[in-house]
Structure formats: structure tokens, C-alpha cells
Symmetry: none
Subunit: 126 residues, 4 copies
Amino acid sequence: MEIIISSKSKKPIYEQIASQIKQMIMAGQLQEGDSLPAMRSLAKSLRVSVITVQRTYEDLQREGFVDSAVGRGTFVAKQDKSLIRNEHLAMIEGHLSEVIHIAKNSGIELEEITKLLHKLFEETGG
Amino acid sequence: MEIIISSKSKKPIYEQIASQIKQMIMAGQLQEGDSLPAMRSLAKSLRVSVITVQRTYEDLQREGFVDSAVGRGTFVAKQDKSLIRNEHLAMIEGHLSEVIHIAKNSGIELEEITKLLHKLFEETGG
Amino acid sequence: MEIIISSKSKKPIYEQIASQIKQMIMAGQLQEGDSLPAMRSLAKSLRVSVITVQRTYEDLQREGFVDSAVGRGTFVAKQDKSLIRNEHLAMIEGHLSEVIHIAKNSGIELEEITKLLHKLFEETGG
Amino acid sequence: MEIIISSKSKKPIYEQIASQIKQMIMAGQLQEGDSLPAMRSLAKSLRVSVITVQRTYEDLQREGFVDSAVGRGTFVAKQDKSLIRNEHLAMIEGHLSEVIHIAKNSGIELEEITKLLHKLFEETGG
DNA sequence: GTGGTCTAGACCACG
DNA sequence: GTGGTCTAGACCACT
């Protein structure tokens, strides 16, 4: 369970942890039925409060990525493909919003961004 | 000084105001030496607290967009447009690369991203 | 002793087991004096902890469904069926009245509730 | 803001508060744009921790009943009728689940419940 | 041991 | 003043 917490990031810690666990699930690194570390042990290894990890697991559960059962632990839930797709789209939307924010602040035209997007897309091996 | 504040936006009000002023400067709508409205009058016309406008002007000053002179007011500073523009383009390219990376990993089409980009651009208030 | 445990259910395991045993008793499938499986063997066949079965038997005993005798085992107690049944019917009527109150206030049709009732009945494991 | 907290209830406090506020909103007692009490003041008047109220407001926000803005407060959001309907259906489902739980424990037939439901529905003025 | 809830108290960003 | 985040420490129910 390699998770990196950056105190520089503006994102809250519980969200940083959550997004990294989501990525592991979406990448297949964590599979359906796999158990996640117990809250207390993960909290200890990440050197954060148990409450913070709890918040992370709670969010993951609410979003359907994991199931938690008192006394048994937390497990990766059956994944819905459209869920994952939506999650990816949300991440993309986050980046695009940043792009637009910067662009509007610096008078860069939408057309220029679109061209750059297409250029980068073609250049990228994929 | 037409500035729109959206209470729906997650962005703080002072940042909404600042980015719209930045835009006006980058677009040449506000030129070097032009004076910005007095804090109290801008606050009044936008129906926000003076403190909020104060924070806006502080940020603009720190970022080099304006100069404030006690007792005289706030003025647009000399802009090094091309430098700023290049920095911004680099940041945009970074985000777009992330977007493309995610998209290629999840089978999302370039066309869909382009549409999302345009949609967000139109939705985003200044 | 066919008992089904659903890990999806929010109900604790000991309660799932208890309610299924109660059902068997109320339905006459288990009769007065019949012996229940030993805790350890039931635990083994259900693949749960002995502690969980212990908790189940404790509850059944406290509610008067079974009697436990150290060294001899656990047996179905004498049931006062009609008394229990009437109490249960009264509780059910209370809940149904609540349901109807909500439904009438929000324009939900009786038919829809009936359908929901049947759907839930089929979904609910014992 | 008359809210009653019962320590007897199995429901967590934050949920008890939330459901009562939801009811006020659904009943029109709290209307769109109305401001809710500040977390700290509500916490004080209910004699619970600020954290508990925070959890309540967070849940209400996530479910779309209210909007919170740092520095300004928490306000009733624009209500979606289907949201309210779903909320009512969820409450009904909760009661029906209780009914089924009792029924299955006491060997009461689904048909009998259905008849009782219809009988009560007709008897109830509405 | 597990997760769920509640508490008290702190610091931050925002207005 | 507001809400948002993080912390530490406690008690509970379940396995």
C-alpha cells in the first residue's frame, strides 16, 4: 500500500489518500474482494489520524469503490465500468477547469488551447 | 467595470474578482497607468465586503498586475505580457498532458474531451 | 439447518442467523424440544466465528425461543405462538400506518407501495 | 429551529438532526434560500458537538438539500421534486423493511400484510 | 481485532 | 462571524 501524502497539496489529506486508492482499484492493482488495510494500521503507517483514514474509507464507500463491515474490515467492491469512466471524466474535467482558469486569466483563446490539445494528443504514444 | 460574481462557484469571491480584472488587463481593456476603482466604491457596486476587495487588490499587487499608492489609489502596472503568457502556456500544456494520459488509459475519445472543454469554457464565468 | 448469510446485508450476522432460526420455529419446522446444532458445528458449517453463533443462541434464549442446558445443548422452548403473533401484527400495523401517512402526503400510489413491498419481500434473505 | 434528539433512538444523532431538517424543507417550512443556523450555534442549542452538526450539514449538502459557503453560512438549496419523492420512497422502504423483518421472524404471510396495508389505506382519511 | 459514532479543541481560509 | 480540515481520545457493536 504505497501512498504518498503531500502537505504542499491544496487537497485535503483524506482526498489524497482516496484518489490514490481509487487509482489502484481502477488500474486493477486492487481487485474485487481484496481487503484494504485496517483504518488504524493505515493511519499509523501514513502517520495521520485514524479519523482522516476513516473519512477516506467513508468517501470510497459512498462512491461505491469499497464495502466496509464492522468487525471484518474494508474490501474492494464489485466495480461498475461506467463508474470508473465517470471517475476518469471527473478527473479530466478537473484538469480542463484548471486550463480554462489559466487561459481566462491570461487572455489565451479557446482555439489555441484546442489546437494544443490536438497536437499533444497526436504526439503522445498511445 | 463589469464584474460578475457567482455564488454558485466554489472559487472564493476575491479570486473571482481578481481573475476578471486580470483578464481585462491581459486583454488590454485596462492599460498601464489606468486607475482601478477605489476599494470602497467597488465593494459597494459589487455588494461585497470592503475586506474582500482589499484581498483582491492585495493579490493583484503581489502578482505584479497593479501598484497601490497610499492616498492616490490603485493603478495598472507595466505588464510583461509575453513572459506571463509563456508561463501560462506551459502550465496549460502540463494539464493537457495529464488529460490525454488519463483519456488514453480509459478509452475516452479526443472528440469527447474537446466537447467538454468547450462546454466548460462557456460555463465558466470569467 | 439451511441458513443463508448475506455479507451484503447491513444486519449483523448473528441477527441474520437468529431470525432464520426464529422463522423455522414459528413455522413449525423446528418444534418444542428439538435440539439445535452445537455452537461449534453450526459455526463451522456457516463459516463464522463461534462467538457469533454464541451471540445468536444467547439472543434466542433471552427472547424465550430456546433453552440452553450446560453440557446437554440447546433446545427449542415451548412457544406461545398466538401471543407473539399478535404482538408482531401490532408492530407491523404501526409501520404500515407510517407508510400510509407518508404516501398520502407525497402523492405516492398504493399500488407502488404494494409493488415495493413484494420486491423487498423477495429480496430479503430470511 | 425545533429539533428533538432522542438518545434512545438507534439512529446516530447527526442523522436524527438531518432527517428533521429534511422534513422541514420537504414540508416547505424551510424554503429555498432560507439560511440554516450556524453550525456552532445549532450545536450549542442542541447541546451536541459542533462536529456532529457539521456532519449533519455535510450530509444534507451531499444530498442536495442545502448549500454551504465558507464565511457566509448554510442555505436551503433549490429543491428538486423528484429528490423529495425519492426521499419519501426511501422512508417508506425503511418502514417496509421493518415490516418484512418482523413478518419473516413470526411466520406471517406476505398476503396477510398486503391485505392489512390495503385495509389501513382505505380507513385512513386522505 | 474490526468499523461507527461522538466528543473536545485546534488551525485555516473566507467575508 | 462563517464553514472546512485535522487532531487525539473515547465508547460502542460486531467478529
